[in-house]
Amino acid sequence: MIEFKHVKKAYQDNVVIEDLSLTINDGEFICIIGPSGCGKTTTLKMINRLNKINDGEILIDGENINNIEVNKLRQGIGYVIQQIGLFPNMTVAQNISVVPNLLKWGKEKIERRVKELLKLINMPYDEYAHKYPRELSGGQQQRIGVLRALAANPPIILMDEPFGALDPITRDILQDELKSIHKQLKKTIVFVTHDMDEAVKMADRIIFMESGNILQFATPEELLNKPASPIIKEFLGKISYSHNANDLTCADVMRTKVFTVNRKRKTLECINMMNQRDIGSVIVVDDDDKFMGIVTIETIKEKGVPGALIEEILDRDVKTVLINHNAKDAFDEFYDSKLDYLTVLNRNKTVAGIITKTSMAKALASLVWGENNDS
C-alpha cells in the first residue's frame, strides 16, 4: 500500500503540489493523468525519491520512505521511463540483471530469472539475450525496459509515460502485454500518461490531476460517466469522436492496429503468423508498404505450395476505401460485401487501417455516448 499524507512539493518559491493525500492499494493499476505541468510525473517520482518532498510524508506498507536507505528503496521499486534508458554497453540479459546484481543474487538464479522474463513476452532467450539494445526495435527495447523493472520481482512498478514514444500499433500491443503481465503478477503499478484512451484501457483507477491537485480519483467508468469537473470533461472530449454522424470519415471508424505482411513472405510463415494472432486473413503489402491484396487462410490451404511466396496467390481484387471516404458509404459497402473487414488506404496506397464490425460499433457507441454527455 502506498499512502501520500499531506505531501507538499515546491521548487524554490514555486509550489507545484500544495497538499496531496491519496492511498493506492496493493495490486492496483493506477493511471495518473492530466494536462502537462499538472504534477503527475512529479508525483510519480516522489515515490522512489527521485523528487524530494518538502512536507508531509509518503508511506509504503506503513513505513515512511525517508526512513529507508534510498538505494534500497529504489531497488525494491521497478522504474520504467519514456526514453527507455537501456544501458547501451550491456546486452539484453545484462540490462535485465542490473537490479538482481545489485541485490547480489547468484549467477544461476539471475539467469533463470532472465529466461523466465523473456518467456513472458515471447522473446526467445537464445535469440535475444545476447543482443545489444541498438539491435532491437523501439518496441522491443521498451519490452526489455519493462522486464528490467520486473527483474527483482518488486511489488511496485512506476512507469512514466512508458509507451509515449512508440508508434500507435506497437503501443497498443505493449499495452495489452502489460495488462496481461499485471493480471498474472498482481503488481501495484503507478502509470503516468497524458493519453486518456490509454488510461481508460489500462487503469483500475484513474487519478486526474490539475495544477498539483487531484480533481478526481475514480474508476474509468465513473470518470467517464460522472466527470467531477469541467476540465476533465474537456479532456475527455478529446477522445470522443466527431459529433455529427454525417461528418464521420473512415478515419473515425477504423482501427489502426493492422497486421500486414510483405509480399516476399512464404505462405507457411503467414499461416504461422495468422495462427499466432488468431486471424483468418492478412493484408499483403509491397516493399514500399503499398497495399497489394489480401490472403485468407482458406486460399493458402487451397493454392499454397510449400515454399511459395505469398504474392503468388494473393487476391488482388478486393474492395478498399480511401481514408477520407464518408463513413456511412463505407459502412454500406462493407455490409454488402460480406467481408470480415474493409481495408482503408491512405492517398499513397499504404494501409491506414481496417474497418471491422467492432471498430464500427465502437465508433458509433462513442458518438451516441458523446451526444448523451452534451445534453
Binding site: 527521485l50 531497488q75 527507455i84
Partner: protein, 197 residues
Amino acid sequence: MALQNLIEHIQLVLISFVFTGIVGLILGIVGYNFKKVRGIILMIVDVLQTIPVLALLGIIMIFFGPTFTTVVIGIVLYSLLPVVRNTIVGLEQIDPAIIEAATGMGMGKFQRLVKVEFPLAFPVIFTGLKIAVVTSIGIGVFGAVVGGGGLGSTINTAIRIQDGSVLFQATLALVIMSLVFDFVMTLVERRLDYNRK
C-alpha cells in the same frame, strides 16, 4: 648507444602514459562530479600546456634534479589536458535518461560510474589518451636537456658533432614511433566505437 636511447625514450613515453592516465582520469572524474572544481581543474591543465616545455622542465628540475623523474613529471603535466578534457566531455555527453534509469533503479554513485558511465564514456576518453601519447613522444625529446636521456640525447649529440645521418635516423625513429602508436591506438579506437551505440 642509439638503440639504448630509443629504448629509454619508449620507457619515458610508456611510464608517463600510465601516470597521465591515472591522474587525468581522477581529475576528469572529480571535475565531472563536482561542478565547482571543474573550472579550476580545466584551467590548471590548460595553463600547464601554455608553459613552454623547456621552462616547465626547468622548473621541475629545481625540485627533482636532472633525472628521469623530472622528464616523466614534465610529460605528464604537459599531456594531462586531452585526457582530463575528454574524460569530462565523455561523461557529460551520456544521455540523461540513462543516468536517470540507473539512479531510479537504485545504483549508487560509484556503481553508476563503474557499470554505466565509465564504459559509455570510454571511447571518448581513449581518444584523449591517444592524443596524450603522441604528444608525449615529442615532449620526450626535450628530456635530454634536463638529463632524462632518450632520443633527445641522440639528436643533441648529432647536432653538436654535425652528424646528419644519425640526426636523420633519430628523427625517423621518432616519426615511426608516433605513427605506430597512433595507428595501433586508432585501431582500438575504431573497435570501441563500433562496439558502442
